[in-house]
Amino acid sequence: MGRLTRWIPPIIATAVGTMLVGMLVGYMLAATVSYVITERGWFANSGEPPEARAFMLAYLQREAENIAALRPQQDVVSKALAEQMTQSTAAQAKALSLTYLGGQSQGPLSVQVYAVEARANDGSQGLITYALTLVGGKVVLVR
């Protein structure tokens, strides 16, 4: 190690090392703050949560794995049932638009509402609404 760093002037080594340590501390600090804010639901009333949006997109595009990732941990049978429901619901209609209507948070609990314009297999079109309940960034209930 001494041979490798011999050609590096001490001031450069100090500068690079100090910056790297600062970046590491900054990254970890930001990640911790972001995690605590998400868990506590602070500032969650400001706009559409990315988890809710990701869930709706995964649901409309029948991405069972992504849906499972946004749900709390479940047993394998519950996951299989959820996958069957996703496939059968999505097969009945094709989504034409996705509109975020709004939401509200209370501590870690958050409710977000969406409207989906869908076309059924028989050609009829209509609006379907979804109210997602999230806790700590995970979707626990869909109504």
């Binding site: 930001a30 949006r53 409309l60 996705l98 609006l127 109210a131």
Partner: protein, 140 residues
């Protein structure tokens, strides 16, 4: 260590700190998915749904029974259950969050906050469907 060197090192550390924070924000933000779907235009809150929301907030059962038929009231009763499947007994507030329309149909979304029958604080979302000034559905 001279004062100038100390300031230099401290500046580098703070610069690295800010760089680390920026990197974390970029990494976390890159996970936001773009939606391939169009979005409908937002519309104003329908008068009839505003009346329903006010009636719920004021525990005005008479107005509620006038505005909605039995079937819709039963659907509303189901909709106003906490995530623990308990009815919301103590309503603190009902807030309109947004509405959109397609053709003659308008859907208006509300968030109700209060305590359920078990005394647990809760919030519940529900959507009222309106057509020609009449409420035709709840959470449809």
């Amino acid at each position: 260590m001279s004062e100038g060197r100390a300031i230099f090192v401290l500046s580098l550390f703070i610069g690295g700190l800010l760089g680390g924070v920026l990197t974390e924000r970029i990494v976390n933000s890159s996970g936001v998915r773009e939606s391939p779907y169009a979005s409908l235009d937002r519309v104003e809150e329908p008068r009839v749904t505003a009346e329903v929301a006010t009636a719920i907030e004021n525990t005005d059962s008479r107005t509620l029974s006038r505005l909605m038929d039995t079937q819709r009231l039963q659907a509303l009763q189901q909709a106003l259950q906490s995530p623990l499947d308990r009815p919301i007994a103590d309503v603190r507030g009902v807030k309109f969050v947004g509405a959109t329309a397609r053709g003659t149909r308008v859907v208006a979304a509300y968030i109700l906050s209060g305590k359920d029958m078990g005394g647990t604080d809760s919030i519940v979302g529900f959507v009222l469907d309106v057509e020609n000034g009449q409420i035709v559905g709840v959470n449809d």
